[in-house]
Symmetry: C2
C-alpha cells in the first residue's frame, strides 16, 4: 500500500495550534511554523495546503477540544449551576497548562481578523456562537431540572456567561495580580450560583 506517514499529523497540528494561539495569525510566519512543526515548507503545504488552511485546522482543533473539555467537566457534576460556576473559577487560576493564563483563541481570532482574512473570521464567529449555544443548553438543563426558576431565559444567561468568560480570560492574558483575577472569577462564579437562590 502507501508509505506510512513519517510525520505525526496530530502532533504537528498541536504545535501549530499552540503557536497560532500564542502569536496570532498575522504575526506567525512560515519560518516559525517550520521550526515548530519540524517540517520543511514543501511538507507543510503537502499536508495542510496553505497557511490559512492550517490556521483553520488549528482553530477547529481548538474549538473541538474546548467544547469536549467543557462537556467532560459538566458531565460529572452534582449540579449544573455549580459546575458552570466552577468552570468560571478555573479561569481564575493562571498556573498550569493552557488554557489557563491565556485568552480564548477564538476571541483572539475574532479581534485580529477582518473580512479580508477570508474564511477565518467567519469560522471564528461560528465557533463562538456554537460555544454560546453550548452554554445555553446547560442553562436550559438547569431550568428544566428546577435549579433555575421556570421563567429563566437560557439564551440571555448564556450570553452573559460567555461575556464573563471572555473578559475573565482577557484579564488572565494580561498576567497582572493573580489574587485580583481569582477574586474576579469568584465574584462571577457566585453570581451564577445565586441564580439558583431566587436571584
Amino acid at each position: 500500500m502507501t508509505r506510512a506517514q513519517p510525520y505525526d499529523r496530530e502532533k504537528a497540528l498541536d504545535a501549530a495550534q499552540d503557536l497560532f494561539w500564542r502569536k496570532g495569525y498575522h504575526a506567525t510566519s512560515l519560518k516559525d511554523l517550520e521550526a515548530a512543526l519540524a517540517m520543511k515548507p514543501g511538507s507543510i503545504y503537502a499536508a495542510f495546503k496553505s497557511k490559512e488552511a492550517l490556521y483553520l485546522a488549528s482553530l477547529e482543533r481548538y474549538f473541538l477540544g474546548s467544547r469536549q473539555a467543557l462537556r467532560d467537566q459538566m458531565a460529572g457534576a452534582a449540579t449544573v449551576l455549580g459546575a458552570l460556576a466552577d468552570h468560571l473559577r478555573s479561569y481564575g487560576d493562571t498556573t498550569g497548562a493552557p488554557p489557563h493564563g491565556r485568552a480564548c483563541m477564538i476571541v483572539k481570532t475574532l479581534l485580529d481578523t477582518t473580512a479580508d482574512d477570508g474564511a477565518i473570521s467567519d469560522r471564528a464567529q461560528i465557533y463562538f456562537e456554537a460555544l454560546r449555544d453550548e452554554f445555553a443548553g446547560f442553562f436550559r438543563q438547569a431550568r428544566d431540572n428546577g435549579e433555575l426558576p421556570p421563567d429563566a431565559n437560557p439564551d440571555r444567561l448564556a450570553r452573559r456567561y460567555q461575556a464573563n468568560i471572555t473578559a475573565l480570560r482577557v484579564e488572565a492574558h494580561l498576567g497582572g495580580d493573580p489574587a485580583g483575577l481569582k477574586d474576579l472569577a469568584e465574584n462571577m462564579a457566585q453570581e451564577v450560583e445565586e441564580l439558583g437562590n431566587g436571584g
Copy 2:
C-alpha cells in the same frame, strides 16, 4: 522661519489610528498607511520615525481620547452610578461613529501582541490599567458621596466594570443580533445601578 507643514499631523494621526484600530498592528502594511495618510514613505518616516512609533502614537491618541470622552460623559451627570450605567448602555448601540460597534483598541492590542513586539504590549497594559484606575476613581467617588455603602470596594468594582465593558465591546465587534447586544448592555447597566440599592 521654517516652512509650514503641508500635511496635517492631527489628521494623519487620526487616519493612522483608525486604520490600526480596524486592522491591527501586524496586518497593517506601510502601503496601507501610505494610502490612508496620503503620504509617501519618506514623509511618514520623517514625521513618525517608524511603524512601531506611529502605532504607539496612535494608541496613545486612542487612550487619551477615550479617557477624555469618559470624563466628559461623567462630568455632567446627576449620579455617578447612573452615569457609569449609561456608559455601559452606550456600548449596546452599534450604530453611529466609532467607538460604537468596535472592540477596544487597547484590548485588541493586548491580544495580538507578545513580548517580542517591543514596547507596544507594555504600553497597552499601562493604558488598560490607567482606565481601570479611572473607573476605580468614580466608584470611590460614589462611595464617598453615599451612593454606595461605605464598605464597597472601588478597586474590585472597577475591575468587574472594566471586564463588563471589555466583553460588551467584543460582542459589539461581532456585529450579531443588535437586540441581544442591547439586552446584554442593559443587563450590565442595571447591575451597576442596583449596587446603589443595597445590592
